[in-house]
Amino acid sequence: MKTLLRPALSLFVLLSVITGLAYPLLVTGIAKTTFPVEAGGSLIVKDGKTIGSRLIGQNFSDPRYFWGRPSATTPMPYNASASGGSNLGPLNPALMDVVKGRIDTLRAADPGNTLPIPADLVTASASGLDPHIGIAAAAYQAGRIARVRGIELAVVEGLVAQYTESRQWGIFGEPRVNVLALNLALDGLR
């Protein structure tokens, strides 16, 4: 036992220093020189003010803007310092209630819309910070945006197409639109 104690202790300390201090600090150093924007959170700066991150969604409820995925974070939606999903099971009545409420809100904001409701627009994301919606979810909202803003539908649809990201390398993930980027572009239309 005694012959084990010294190597155990010293090896533990040595490997801890290498993997717990040297390694993360080395990666931080490399990251800050090679990918400074990404390492710092892909922040969006406008007129000298930081207004968000390219990768973190924000809450939108104004009909003038595209709405993102519902967020289950607490106490406020899109709380970027307490990520998480709803964890509601498929048979939980609470899931039905909350989805029904979201459908009602969507329909109330756009009474004439007869398109089927895209699932991602009424279900909470896993992180609560999902920056994207699917193509159908953007198309569903395009009519409302055009009407409320008093612009041509074709302009809105053109903007959605411009901000659509296809599957990465044609294989990975799903086609999607970054909601914050799209809304910033909407505000940029003059």
Binding site: M1, P7, A8, L11, F12, L15, S16, I18, T19, G20, L21, Y23, P24, V27, A31, F35, E38, A39, G40, L43, T50, G52, S53, R54, L55, I56, Q58, N59, S61, Y65, R69, P77, A80, S81, S83, G84, N87, L88, G89, P90, N92, M96, K100, I103, I117, A119, D120, V122, T123, S125, A126, S127, P131, H132, A136, W169, E174, L180, N183, D187
Partner: protein, 592 residues
């Protein structure tokens, strides 16, 4: 299943299988000290630490060394959490973690489970994330790998007293396998958008003001409750968003490579800062299986017959593919109750999933992370369709042997292989042997302990939680799903997976203690008998292959082994599964 899902699965398996041989060969050579640069750079470290590198250990000493090393890990992780408020690198001023949560997390990260009762970005200081949690991401992975290497040496050696030197093995795996890959991998993740900094959290001004209900607080900062005990809310609004920061990518890389799975953030790999793009996600999936797959080749090479390794890999691959197809299929189904409300069913079950990943990537990831004992998630398993959620449960309950954790998956599978030759030996009336080693009473005793310890922990733990008020208090979803949440928690803890049906409120003294015990014995209750078997196998003579020897590299043995894993691993859980996901599935489609 969509064409996209088939393509994704096919591409994943193809790339994985290409990596097996080179990675497995590298592992074998590093562990044998075949590389000059390894021997040259490691020897000063051994002198510094007082390690007698050329002194081999008998199995009992090897086991003591491993236990001692891991016990030190538990103490260090516990202490750092309990003291973090007074230590540096804590820009958010995180408070010291409570004793029961710190105990649970310490065992969780040391046992390679990485179950998380806490939310990372609201609990842990950067120092704790790095010096406690990242360190154990490396060392628990190294522990798993050296144990399987010792077991393989037991098969490879004959009439030998020793199984290797634990200190040398741990050092080699950590510094020459895990560390270099992690550095490259972490930088790649940053390139995709993962963050890596030590800054305080950033407050940004959002485009829109968010209105929400906040709990009303009294003068002491405690939430006000009405006569019925419900929390009273008041309207609130905010024009800012606080972005959590931290050294994420460095932890993320080893979290996946070492099948650890403990997220820097509460949302784990679903968080865009942990797993920003579908490409980073694909690489994360590959990196979970990289070492468990490669070790099969390492095994074949070390025992001098690579066909043996390919046979074990075939068992794992076939079982995995079946499970992955099931998960992707069930998640592509829409929740019929939502379809009734007018939701378009073509998108599948999107509750708890990220748009950039969608159904196919989420279903595949869920299977990979639970087949391997990783436990990272990109989608909330609690919100899966009933049978979609059954797949991760089954993955874990098979004993984490379908690829499994780094090292632990292969030693678990080899234990099943010994059981398979034992059963076939009984059928034909011959003394069973595996890889030229006679399987006798002692090996079968150790095999039985290794196989039975986890079902015992899972089923007894679940039963205790279900019949006690403290256990039932954690349930989030009503009905059969609530039972599934508890069953999932104990399956995950005892099999050292770490994923959760996360609705369960597990950060309570009851669950922290119960799950802590399950994780410790689920890990070391298997490691010790496996090392004992390594010692006894190493001491045996090697038998020559005769006409009566059961070949263990052909399709017949592959089928036999799959059968044994399914029967022995799963039968224990059929009644419990019937009470949870199966009932829920029937109810969901009956109401429709």
């Amino acid at each position: 299943m969509t064409t996209h899902a088939w393509t994704l699965l096919g591409l994943f398996l193809a790339i994985l299988l290409v990596t097996v041989k080179p990675m497995g060969l590298y592992l074998a050579k590093v562990m044998a000290g075949d590389y000059g640069f390894v021997r040259k750079t490691e020897s000063p470290l051994y002198r510094l630490c007082g390690v007698q590198a050329d002194e081999e250990m008998v199995w009992l000493k090897y086991a003591f060394a491993i236990l001692l090393f891991n016990a030190l890990g538990v103490l260090a992780v516990y202490a750092l959490q309990r003291l973090q408020a007074w230590l540096p690198l804590n820009p958010q001023g995180m408070a010291n973690v409570s004793p029961d949560s710190a105990f649970n997390t310490a065992i969780s990260f040391v046992s390679n489970t990485n179950w998380q009762g806490y939310g990372g970005e609201s609990t842990m200081s950067y120092l704790t994330q790095m010096l406690a949690l990242t360190v154990q991401n490396f060392l628990s992975a190294a522990t798993g790998i050296v144990v399987v290497i010792a077991l393989i040496r037991g098969f490879a050696r004959h009439t030998a007293a020793t199984v290797g030197n634990a200190w040398v093995d741990l050092t080699r795996v950590t510094l020459y396998v895990l560390l270099p890959i992690s550095i490259v991998y972490a930088v790649f993740l940053v390139g995709q958008g993962s963050i890596q900094n030590l800054d305080a959290y950033k407050e940004v001004t959002t485009l829109e003001v968010t209105k929400y209900d906040a709990p009303k607080l009294d003068a002491d900062g405690q939430p006000v409750k009405d006569e019925k005990g419900a929390v009273v809310n008041e309207p609130a609004e905010t024009a800012t968003q606080t972005l959590a920061m931290g050294p994420v990518a460095s932890q993320e890389a080893i979290k996946m490579l070492g099948t650890n799975g403990g997220g820097f953030f509460n949302a784990n790999s679903a968080h865009p800062y942990e797993n920003p793009t579908p490409l980073s996600n694909f690489i994360q999936m590959l990196s979970i299986f990289l070492i468990p797959g490669a070790l099969c080749f390492t095994f074949g090479r070390m025992v001098g017959d690579t066909r043996q390794g390919w046979a074990v890999l075939a068992v794992m691959t076939v079982m995995f593919a079946g499970l992955a197809i099931a998960a992707m299929y069930f998640e592509q189904q829409a929740n019929p109750l939502l379809t009734q409300l007018g939701v378009d069913p073509t998108f599948g079950n999107m509750e708890g999933k990220e748009t950039r990943f969608g159904i196919a990537d989420s279903g595949l990831f869920a299977t990979i992370t639970t087949a391997a004992s990783c436990g990272a998630v990109i989608a909330m398993h609690d919100s899966f369709m009933p049978l979609g959620g059954l797949v991760p449960l089954v993955d874990m309950q098979l004993g984490e042997v379908v690829f499994g954790g780094v090292g632990s998956g292969l030693y678990g599978m080899l234990v099943f292989a010994i059981l398979a030759v034992f059963i076939s030996g009984l059928m034909i009336g011959r003394t069973p042997e595996y890889l030229g080693k006679k399987i006798e009473t002692y090996e079968m005793k150790m095999t039985s302990i290794a196989i039975l310890v986890t079902p015992l922990l899972v089923l007894v733990g679940t039963a205790v939680a279900v019949i006690t008020g403290d256990g039932r208090a954690g349930i989030a979803n009503p009905g059969a799903h609530g039972f599934s949440e508890i069953l999932y928690a104990f399956s995950s803890a005892a099999n050292n997976n770490g994923s959760a049906f996360a609705g369960l409120s597990a950060n309570t003294p009851f669950y922290n203690t119960m799950l802590g015990i399950a994780m410790w014995f689920g890990r070391f209750g298997v490691i010790v008998p496996v090392l004992a078997m390594a010692g006894s196998l190493a001491a045996k003579k090697r038998l020559a292959v005769t006409e009566g020897t059961l070949p263990t590299h052909g399709p017949l043995f592959v089928v036999l082994l799959i059968g044994v894993v399914l029967l022995v691993g799963l039968l224990n859980y059929v009644p419990a599964l019937a009470l949870g996901p199966v009932i829920e599935q029937l109810m969901l489609f009956a109401t429709y």
